[in-house]
Each structure stands twice: as C-alpha cells, then as structure tokens.
Symmetry: C2
C-alpha cells in the first residue's frame, strides 16, 4: 500500500471514530462520555481507539482542527481564483456549508467546550480568526470596487458567519430542503444584501 493511500485510510478511520464519538457526546454530554463508550459504539477495543487518539479531548481537537484546515484551504483557493467579490462570497458560503452540513455533519467539529488545553485552544482561535479575515477581505474588496455598498466589512462578515454557523443547530439531512439549496439561498441573500445599487 502506498504511503498516501495509507494515510488517507488512517484519516478516514479517524473521521469515522470522530463521528461515533460525536454521537456519544450528544447522548451523554462531553463531560460524562468515556473512551469506553466511544470504543463500545464502534465495536472496537479501547486499546485500538488509543492507536488513533490519545484521549477524548484529542478527538475533539482533531475534528475542529481538521474542519478549520479544510475551511482555510477552500478560502485560499477562492482568494486565488481571481473571481469578482460576489462570486467569491458565494463560493465561500457554499463551500463552508457543504463541509459543515454534509461532510462533517455528525462529527464533533462544532462542540463548544473548554475541554481543550490552552495551546490547542489558541491554535483553533487563530485559525478561526484567519478564516474570518478571509471573509472580511472579500467583503472589503467588494466595497473598494463599489460592487458592494459601503458596509463595515467586520460586521457584515460576522452576520454571514453567524447565519452559516447557526445552520448546524437546525439543519437536518433528509429534511424538506437539501443543504446545497439552503446554501444557495444563503449565498444569494448575502450577495444581494451587500450589492450596491449602481
């Protein structure tokens, strides 16, 4: 087996464990859940779980760090695309929602807790801030080019992030609307909301 495919397999296994862990966290709460519960839910031994993760907070860290890395990679791709601000904003909103609602749905990527140690916590906050900065730059660029109204980019970025982040509290796969339909509506609402009436 090639190294790349081996590491992809390990990543997939880690994501699988993360999903099972998230279900246990939701049922029992993060504090009350044990690594035995998580291993049990997967039909694996505690020992083999420890091959992939050091402890419970390590699972949480993996999910949150992985999702932020993916979001930052999307943001960098979009920044380099050279597309106009409205198109970049649309792309960013859709990419983040696809990641959150489809791919990482059911992982512990969004659990709010103070279980992480300070150094990991700071790393996550720094990545979150960088992502927010990418979004703010798109808005600021749109304002500069007069594609967008003269809004405060920080406030607009936070409105958008709030709406997008909140979806994890209500969106249920298999419901009335697909995640990409919701994402398209959200993207349109923000782009139209920012667009200047030239």
């Amino acid at each position: 087996m090639k190294a790349e495919s081996k590491s992809r397999k390990a990543l997939e296994r880690r994501l699988e464990i993360a999903r099972a862990a998230a279900a246990v966290f939701r049922r029992k709460g993060f504090a009350a859940a044990t690594t035995e519960d998580i291993a049990g839910a997967l039909g694996m031994t505690k020992g083999s779980l420890y091959y992939y993760f050091r402890d419970k907070p390590d699972i949480l860290w993996f999910c949150q760090n992985y999702s932020l890395d993916r979001m930052l990679a999307d943001a960098a791709r979009i920044r380099r695309s050279g597309a106009p601000p409205a198109a970049r904003l649309r792309d960013l909103v859709r990419s983040q929602m696809a990641l959150m609602l489809d791919e990482l749905a059911g992982t512990a990527a969004h659990i709010q807790t103070d279980a992480l140690d300070r150094s990991r916590w700071r790393k996550l906050v720094a990545k979150r801030d960088r992502y927010e900065g990418e979004l703010r730059s798109i808005v600021a660029d749109g304002v500069r080019r007069r594609d967008f109204r003269a809004v405060d980019p920080a406030t607009a970025a936070r409105a958008i992030l709030g709406a997008v982040n909140w979806t994890i509290t209500w969106f249920r796969p298999g419901g009335k609307r697909r995640s990409d339909e919701v994402a398209a509506d959200f993207a349109e609402l923000f782009v139209e909301g920012l667009r200047s009436r030239k």
Copy 2:
C-alpha cells in the same frame, strides 16, 4: 407601595439575581455552579435567594422565558403596526438585538443546556417557534407583495435568526461599535438581501 410597583421591584430583583447567576454559570459552568455561589456573589443568604427562585434551573427558566415573552410582545406590536414588510423586518431585528445585547446582556437568557424539565423545555421551544413564525410571516408577506424576492421564507428567517442569535458570542459592550449600529447594519443587510429589483 402599589402592587404594580411592588411587582416591578420583584422583577428587577429577579433580573439582578439572574445576571449574577449568569456570571457564576460562565465562570464555573452551569453544572458545577451552586446556589451558594450565586447567593455569595450577591452578598445575600441562600435563604433569601430561595425567596425569588426555587433552584438553579428555575433561574435559567426565568431568563429564557422572560426574554421570549419580551420578544413575542415586540413581534406582536410590530405585526399590528401595519408598516410595510421591510420596515417591520428592520424593527424586529433591531428590537431583538436591543433586548439581547443591551437589556439582557449578561443574563442566562442564552445558555444552552438540558437542565430544564421537559414541560418547561417544551414551553420555551413553543415560544421560540412562535417567534420564528412571526419573522417568517414578515418575509412571506414581503414576498406576496413583491417587495421581496421569491425566497423561501423559512430559510430566510433562519438565516436572519442565526446571524442575530450569534451576536451574543462575539458582541462586547464598550467595543468599537455600539449594539444599535450593529443592529442597523444587520437590518439593512437582510432588507437589501430580500428586496426585489422592481
């Protein structure tokens, strides 16, 4: 003392306790905080705290129920105003943000927990649903009158509520922008985002 002013005094006292309790909840976590901690933070005895609240979940219930009642009263006033949908949407967003960020800031109005008993929980959920329904009606009315684009009112309402609810995670009084400035920007973003290009 008149009955009305007496009950207003009691309400103010309850809100004061709720604010002190919220600070303790934030510091120690809802599960770890005790009524002794809360009484201690107020320099009052546990006995006099029990005059106002039965227990810890009772404080949480009071905050959440009180804020939803206020939000629903605002929504009813706005519904009866007969103003056009765009003006009603602006008014609703600003009213909710003023309540959340100024008046109830620092109370336990937004703590997410499963500490409430089922019957109280169901009452809160029913009120939240009613409030969401009020917002959805404004959007639907705007679509019907063609003031707004032909959006899905439920999706738009959730985008708006998400952005507004998320503000409690980042807005800090005394920061760069006042809450009413942020609220005005949010209201404009959504109204412009929904407005049809007639």
